[in-house]
Symmetry: C2
Subunit: 382 residues, 2 copies
């Protein structure tokens, strides 16, 4: 298996762009990444597009063909990948697969999504299940998880809410975040209730956004730079765990994390900076545990000890996370990688994690108990 | 690059199944392929799903996770791939990439689609373009192509219509085809006009369908059989050609075909049996030319000389093609591969092409002049 490098990254600040198309947002991200890599578009051999809801919300299939043509990339293989909230990170992994497998030397992986629409409605991922029709939407599921977590581990609603305080504090330092306003614990707790105990400031907001990454073989990268950013592991896992009734543990996350650490030849203790899927506050606490950063039920302690805040031993979501940046499904997984690459290069400005050499991104889509889950974990190093 | 084999294939007869779900249709195809391969589902390492319109027509994202879970495949990476009408064939190619690149030894590629729906409407692939809103739907585009072809090459509407006669004649022999009725040239010409000169019997019908393929490394395959079916080339190309105003020539088809022949180390003269994308009669004539089976403008002669009918030197669409089988977008590309594998194994019953050793499948999505085109060409041999 060949070593793979990230040669260039690009992202637009996430926000609400009712008058910009997927085509328009995606092109800008592609151009930023191509410029950042310092490569010619003519040398890009394939394009991977992560987009989850373009067909449903914008009536737009073939998003990759549209965006890459708009970016000036013609006559290459293009693939559109949908893996719910992990669409972008799955596209990145497919790009990695192609280069690692020796098929190409230089490719682009882009994620784009517009979730702000004229119409409203509940975000529906997977088949229209009886559970959803009966009210078990995504906030409802994670609220169940939070209640179970509190019952099993003695955590309080306030402790869970502190994830939002931390990530919103980080977001102030990130010009790419949609919301850049610090919030107090009191504000989080007093914000409107969505699904008890999750208030609205504990649920990731919508966003329109796009992000892109240029990947190449390490040999190709070393012709351009003496210190390439390398992909140590890129893992995708789907399916339920062995105990579907264990509602507070995404078993597939654990399995994916174990595989990623094995492939990278490191352990969770070697990670310097993390972007993980904080779609809801409880999710971040949970992911501390499945990713191996602490034992089961110890997530709250990790948070309250300040380990995961900027300046701590293991800063998590210094970008502000999904909770502040917003969650344009197809773009989120690529945005996480862009942030980590900036961190590893020392280009993260005021939110720079000093001396970061190994980063981890974690993105997941679908709900446990249904079968639409896709978990991706990528380990990237300098 | 490792050699890749097709270990097993499965397909359901295409038809109209208003009361069966994507989950249900897809599972059946998966099981048929798994049984045909004689492998344990536990040994399948990844799943690739081709589906184009599930999100739009059935409100169903994450089709692969749903179908593969239903088929008993848990805890594996699953990827949903949308490339318009070439979604299934693109999923097959991604599966090939993964094995050829050394990532896996055994995977499944499945295509499923339900195009019969309660609501009607024009099939819209790509971004909602001004051209479509002004009436340039897919039949409209191919009608323009037919008119231009007649003007340039002196072909007649009757000559183009003969493709439908040939393919419907083949369909009578194929129990997997949705329509199995021979039609006369007079019937084709007299059927209702859709877009002049294309009558309804010259336009592929809707269909619900599913098909699946088990792929493995050649080494893995040789443990199961002494004469594996091997993939000699798997090519995907997107984008417009260098002359978008040349409406009767899909330049990307030519480029993809050239690459496929190069990789397989053979030429068009070495192909024994072909399944190609006859979405409209004119398309088949055109593809004879871009795939290198004859020179430009010679497609009609190839057809009228009987070269491409069962019993001819190069039988094309002995399955009945899209024109008879119907076109469930995500399933079509996999169905073509299933048919070719049956032909190479000598399992095609009354429509068997005697002594077939090298087959080619060609599938494409999107319209030239727009940028949503995806062309796949796979060469498979015994």
């Amino acid at each position: 298996m060949r070593e793979v490098a990230v040669l260039g990254v690009g992202m637009i600040p996430f926000g609400k762009f009712l008058n910009r198309s997927l085509r328009d947002l995606g092109r800008e991200a592609c151009w930023l990444a191509i410029k950042d890599a310092g490569v010619s578009p003519k040398h890009i051999e394939a394009g991977y597009m992560g987009n989850a809801l373009g067909a449903v919300l914008q009536g737009h299939t073939g998003v990759g063909q549209t965006v890459f043509a708009e970016a000036g990339l013609h006559g290459i293989p293009i693939l559109n990948i949908e893996n719910a909230c992990a669409s972008g990170s799955s596209a990145f992994r497919e790009a990695w697969m192609a280069i690692a497998g020796g098929h190409y030397d230089l490719v682009i992986a882009t994620g784009v999504e517009k979730t702000y629409t004229e119409q409203g409605g509940v975000l529906d991922i997977g088949e229209a299940e009886p559970e959803l029709r009966l009210g078990l939407s995504l906030p409802g599921f994670f609220a169940l998880m939070a209640n179970r977590y509190m019952a099993e581990h003695g955590a309080t609603a306030e402790q869970i809410a502190k994830v939002s305080v931390k990530n919103h504090k980080h977001s102030v330092l990130n010009p790419y975040s949609q919301y850049r306003k610090a919030v107090t614990l009191e504000e989080v707790m007093a914000s409107p209730m969505v699904a008890d105990p999750l208030t609205v400031l504990q649920c990731c907001p919508r966003a329109d956004g796009a992000a892109a990454v240029i990947l190449g073989s390490a040999d190709y990268a070393r012709r351009l730079t003496t210190s390439p950013v390398l992909v140590s592991a890129a893992v995708l896992m789907s399916g339920m765990g062995d105990n579907p009734s264990d509602i507070i543990h995404f078993r597939m996350n654990e399995i994916a994390a174990q595989r990623a650490y094995e492939r990278a030849g490191i352990g969770p203790e070697d990670i310097d900076v993390v972007e993980l899927h904080d779609c809801f506050t409880i999710a971040e606490l949970h992911h501390y545990e499945t990713l191996g950063f602490c034992s089961r039920g110890e997530g709250v302690k990790l948070l309250e000890d300040g380990v995961t805040q900027l300046g701590g031993r293991l800063p998590v979501n210094v970008s502000g996370g999904l909770l502040s940046r917003g969650h344009p499904l197809g773009a989120t997984g690529i945005a996480q990688i862009v942030e980590i690459v900036w961190q590893l290069r020392g280009q993260a400005g005021d939110r720079q994690v000093e001396g970061a050499r190994v980063g981890l991104t974690h993105c997941m889509g679908g709900i446990k108990g249904q079968d639409a889950q896709a978990t991706t974990i990528h380990i990237i190093r300098r």
